[in-house]
């Protein structure tokens, strides 16, 4: 968590990341394919963060994809069957996903151990099966021709770039809400519950209520990602939300570093979305190489990428910014200027 807690360097990092993300599409404007990968990465970051939020409260969920699916289908159906536009369907889809999470979570969260892991995975499988079997949800063929978001003012959603900025906005929103939670007493209660639920309870922390809160907030965020996905691809099919998706979501968080609740999934999702593209030349071996790589990282670097970097003293943000200052001082001292 140190990377996240060093005040000034944190702001500097955040600012530079924001600038890069805003300017980036202009640099690759001619390559819609690259923008598409970025959008995929953005969705994956949100999904990875939902896993991390549950993990921060001591819950391991293999069902994040279920709420991704619920958000996507809710949003698709609200626009297709009720004729709502995206800007109304998005918040409604988030609320619907949250409500389902509240109903399911109030049962599952009571036993947070092994049964929770299994039941969340089972729930994800059931959701994918239900939307596939029932005609109302479009069956296995899915729902096609989902409308794009209505234009807001001069901004039309006809190109990838406008979607990119929409997603960037949504991502910033989710990060802000999650960050506010993690840095408040809610985040402290989650950490306490994760480290020792019984001790947390003797401190007056209602473990059930806080776990349920994490479940509902995380699932709502997954619903938001699903809603965006549906109107971006304009298609939802059940196979997009299979049990494998939940496994991938978990890997984003593990690869980046489980103790980094926001940066971890971001790093993990970006790497796992872009790496396969670089390995395209040897396409048939790509899953094999990715799998071996992941296995190696989890076995040898259990702290994930960020956890491993943090242990190297040279990589702490404070030391980097201190070094920059020293260099700057060296350059601008009077001796140097007069020479």
């Amino acid at each position: 968590m140190k990377l996240l807690t060093e005040g000034k360097s944190k702001l500097a990092l955040l600012g530079s990341v924001a600038v890069i993300l805003i300017v980036f599409p202009l640099l690759v404007a001619g390559k819609p394919f690259t923008i598409n990968i970025c959008i995929l990465a953005g969705i994956s970051i949100i999904l990875g963060m939902t896993f991390s939020m549950l993990f921060s409260a001591g819950l391991i969920s293999l069902g994040c994809a279920a709420f991704y699916a619920i958000g996507a289908y809710a949003s698709a159906l609200l626009t297709m069957k009720l004729g709502l536009n995206f800007w109304l369907a998005l918040p409604l889809a988030i609320i619907i996903t949250g409500a389902v999470a509240l109903a399911i979570g109030s049962m599952l969260v009571r036993n947070p151990g092994f049964s929770f892991v299994v039941l969340t995975l089972l729930f994800a499988l059931v959701v994918a099966e239900v939307v596939g079997q029932l005609g109302f949800f479009g069956g296995w063929g899915g729902i096609i021709d989902i409308p794009r978001p209505d234009p807001i003012g001069p901004i039309e959603f006809s190109s990838n770039i406008s979607y990119y900025y929409l997603l960037l906005f949504l991502l910033a929103l989710v990060v802000t809400v999650f960050y506010a939670l993690y840095t408040s007493r809610v985040g402290r209660a989650w950490r306490a519950i994760k480290l020792s639920a019984s001790l947390a309870q003797t401190l007056g922390i209602n473990a059930y209520r806080y776990r349920l809160l994490a479940f509902v907030v995380a699932s709502s965020a997954a619903g938001l990602a699903g809603s965006f996905y549906a109107h971006y691809y304009q298609t939802v099919i059940p196979s997009t939300f299979s049990g494998w998706v939940s496994i991938y979501i978990q890997l984003y968080a593990v690869l980046g570093g489980l103790e980094f609740y926001i940066l971890g999934p971001a790093v993990g999702a970006v790497i796992m979305t872009f790496a396969p593209e670089f390995l395209r030349v040897i396409k048939e071996f790509e899953p094999l190489i990715m799998g071996a790589l992941l296995l190696a990282i989890i076995l040898f670097f259990p702290g994930g990428i960020l956890g491993t970097l943090q242990k190297l003293p040279r990589f702490s943000l404070a030391s980097i910014s201190a070094r920059m200052k020293r260099i700057a001082k060296g350059v601008f001292t009077r001796d140097n200027l007069t020479k």
Partner: protein
Amino acid sequence: MALLEIRSLGKYFGGLAAVRDLDLDVFNLEILGLIGPNGAGKTTLFNLVTGFHSPSSGTVIFKGEDITSLRPDQIARKGIGRTFQASTLFMQRTVFDNVFFGSHKHYRQPEWKALLHTPAVRKEESAIKQRVMEILEFMGLASLKDKLAGNLPHGYQRALGLCIALATEPELLLLDEPVTGMNPTETSALLELIRKIRDRGITIVVVEHNMGVVMSLCDRLAVLNYGQKIAEGAPEEVKENKQVIEAYLGKGSSR
């Protein structure tokens, strides 16, 4: 009126009676020792009082209020704190964070405001952080505040467990074998701390096997055997009690 009144309390695990028809009063500002052979039901009794087990029968009354069916976090908020037998701490966090987490019940600002980090919330948090430092200073752990709990020597870990319990500002504190695994120096230091805690106005019940500790620390003793109370009274009386000697050493040992 006693601070804590336990009335005909029972807890059965299957056919096994861990606690049976137990009556016990804990009076204001005393240090009550709870002793008895292994498996006598002492820790079960703690778990019943703090809501981790729900009793099969009987009632627990704290400050005149029935708390029998409350959850652990609700009971904690009523003012009963506890420590656990093993060092149960937030091992991967700093000493400071451990006590900071322990202060959870003192937040008064609503949660949604906490998310916005309003000035009132920040003021409340800094007041709580100040209290955390006061507790650490009181218990002599202030200089270790940035150390990870998991890296502390055993004696300090037990003291930190006490700090966490104190952070909830309990009126009644239940200590489960506080000096186990400590050397004599650590033990006497911790006993001194426990007395200091009582002098701050906190009633203490302590489960302990070390008879020397129990005799020097406690104002009163209650002896459990097979889930039942077999004796109660001043340490000197209890020590001479025939039934107690039998329970510890077997029949025929009493003089």
